[in-house]
């Protein structure tokens, strides 16, 4: 069953300063199956976040369609929870208040949603922090909470927008391993945007490599890496290194082309 289908997505902006038309997304099509982890990878400024925002319903595509679980996307909705780069937690709600937010919006009863909230907090390793406020958490913990908040509503797709980009390297590794563990346990459908090749390869089942602006799908790379995954086993796995090298090559080629185009 496919959870997410993107067909011939195009997005054109009008630049606020110059008034020029900027093509952010040229022509992007791909799909994500249920229970699959797909990363979108590309050079910075290639519009990968725009793809995510379109799926989330924050941005309207210029043309093309996005459908989730068979329904065409027309605006933000609880079937597509977003984990933001800057976590976007509600500062005025406790950790528990943040986790149960989506459940409250669904109209779930207090006892039930709190039980569910606690379950997901313990899944991401935040038990005991229910009464804290987001500003009292470390960066890594905030992002765990961001993940728990989305997973608790059991969306059709979880959208993650470079969630670990502003987190220090060691914590990032831990979070990536935890995310993999959670994914292997629960099998949510994940759409993950990143510019970190290692991260993409380590986490994903498939990687959608985008070209530079205006972006289009350069190649969809299958990651052949057994699960459960840990960093210790992954770095030694020949499949991991080969895939990283392959993706690296794709991006480097794209860059070379981009420079050539610039010179023209």
């Amino acid at each position: 069953m496919t959870a997410l289908v993107i067909e011939h997505l195009e997005k054109t902006y009008t630049d606020a300063y110059t008034g020029d038309e900027v093509v952010a997304i040229g022509d992007v099509s791909f799909s994500v199956s249920e229970g699959e982890f797909v990363s979108v990878l590309g050079p910075s400024g290639c519009g990968k976040t725009t793809v995510l925002n379109t799926v989330a319903g924050f941005v309207r595509p210029t043309s093309g369609t996005v459908s989730v679980a068979g329904n065409q996307v027309s605006g933000p909705g609880p079937d597509r929870g977003v984990v933001f780069q800057n976590h976007a937690l509600f500062p005025w709600k406790t950790v528990l208040g943040n986790v149960v937010f989506g459940l409250r919006m669904k109209g779930m009863g207090r006892a039930e949603r709190e039980a569910r909230g606690r379950e997901y907090l313990s899944l991401v390793g935040l038990e005991g922090f229910e009464r804290r406020y987001p500003h009292e958490l470390s960066g890594g913990m905030r992002q765990r909470l961001g993940v728990a908040r989305v997973l608790a509503t059991e969306p059709a797709v979880m959208l993650m927008d470079e969630p670990f980009a502003s987190i220090d390297a060691q914590t990032r590794r831990r979070l990536q391993e935890d995310l993999t563990r959670i994914f292997e346990e629960r099998r949510p459908t994940v759409f993950f945007v990143t510019h970190d090749i290692d991260e993409a390869v380590f986490l994903s089942d498939r990687i959608v490599v985008l070209s530079g602006r205006p972006s289009s799908v350069r190649e969809i790379v299958e990651v052949d890496l057994p699960r459960p995954r840990t960093w210790a086993s992954a770095v030694d796995h020949p499949g991991f290194r080969a895939t990283v090298a392959h993706v690296n090559g794709l991006l480097a080629e794209g860059e070379a082309e981009g420079t050539a185009a610039d010179v023209e």
């Binding site: 630049d15 606020a16 300063y17 780069q85 800057n86 500062p91 500003h135 502003s166």
Partner: protein
């Protein structure tokens, strides 16, 4: 008293999409800006004229737009306007120059030491709460009715808010900035001009805003109570003779003057410093 809208907690590290940047981009044409500013005010004036005409309220109570315009014109021609305007502007200018000259060094000196700022913080907050109008009786007792007392009130109204905010601003300069300046060889004098003053700027500007707000109100009140010239006095005089047209004319002038101070003095200062440097400052 956080008169300073300090935002830190929820400010995203990356500029928010769709917040400041595109808006500034869209406002590129100043003519459109001006239209957005003038039209609502014009509509307001039209509504006023229409309402007075339609309800037939006696113009002694609520003057027609034309009456006010006429009163304004007469004041201008008779030289009264220049007299009052000159007196008020002179007092605000002298009072605020003295306030800036005294409050800035004082605030920075306090802010430079943790112990001093901890000691003075409650005192200054107390004084800010009291500054300005509450001093009018004592100021007129000490200095008599006249320019002296009014200038004292303007100074007093501004001084504490400005000193307090400057102190807070200095306290908020990251330690790393001070250390790096020192390790690059900056002496105390240099440190003052190159790090402390610009670092405290966002806070200084909001202190100026708050202080001028108090000072301006203090001026009007003091002029109503304690002088024989100035816009406040003009208001008072008009009230005793029930000339509502002159009262409203004077009110409009007071409003326009403050808008000019804000747009021509504070906003450019803010644009050239804080905004240019990408620091935030309270919009108030």
């Amino acid at each position: 008293m956080s008169d300073l809208p300090a935002r830190g907690g929820n400010a995203p590290a990356v500029p928010r999409p769709g917040a400041a940047v595109p808006r500034r981009g869209r406002t590129g044409s100043w003519a459109v800006d001006l239209a957005w500013f003038v039209t609502p005010l014009a509509v307001l004036v039209a509504l006023w004229a229409g309402a007075v005409a339609a309800t037939g309220v006696p113009t002694r109570v609520f003057p027609q737009v034309t009456d006010v315009a006429l009163a304004l014109w007469e004041m201008a021609v008779s030289g009264e306007l220049a007299l009052h305007l000159g007196a008020s502007l002179y007092r605000v200018l002298v009072g605020s120059v003295i306030a800036v000259a005294t409050a800035l060094p004082f605030g920075i000196a306090l802010g430079a030491s943790r112990a001093l700022s901890a000691f003075f913080s409650p005192l200054l907050r107390f004084s800010v709460a009291l500054a300005g109008i509450a001093w009018i009786p004592i100021a007129t007792l000490w200095l008599g009715y006249g320019d002296g007392a009014v200038i004292f009130i303007v100074w007093n109204a501004m001084f504490f808010a400005l000193a307090y905010n400057t102190m807070l601003g200095v306290r908020r300069i990251p330690t790393s900035l001070l250390r790096s300046a020192r390790s690059l060889g900056a002496g105390p004098w240099r440190l003052f001009w190159e790090v402390l003053l610009p670092g405290a700027m966002p806070s200084v500007i909001s202190g100026l805003r708050i202080g001028l707000g108090y000072g301006w109100r203090g001026l009007v009140a003091a002029e109503i109570i304690a002088t024989h010239a100035g816009l406040g006095y003009a208001l008072f005089l008009a009230q005793t003779s029930f000339s509502t047209d002159v009262i409203i004319a004077a009110m409009v002038i007071i409003g326009v003057l403050w808008l000019c101070t804000d747009r021509l003095l504070l906003a450019p200062l803010e644009r050239r410093t804080v905004r240019r440097w990408g620091m935030t400052s309270g919009e108030g």
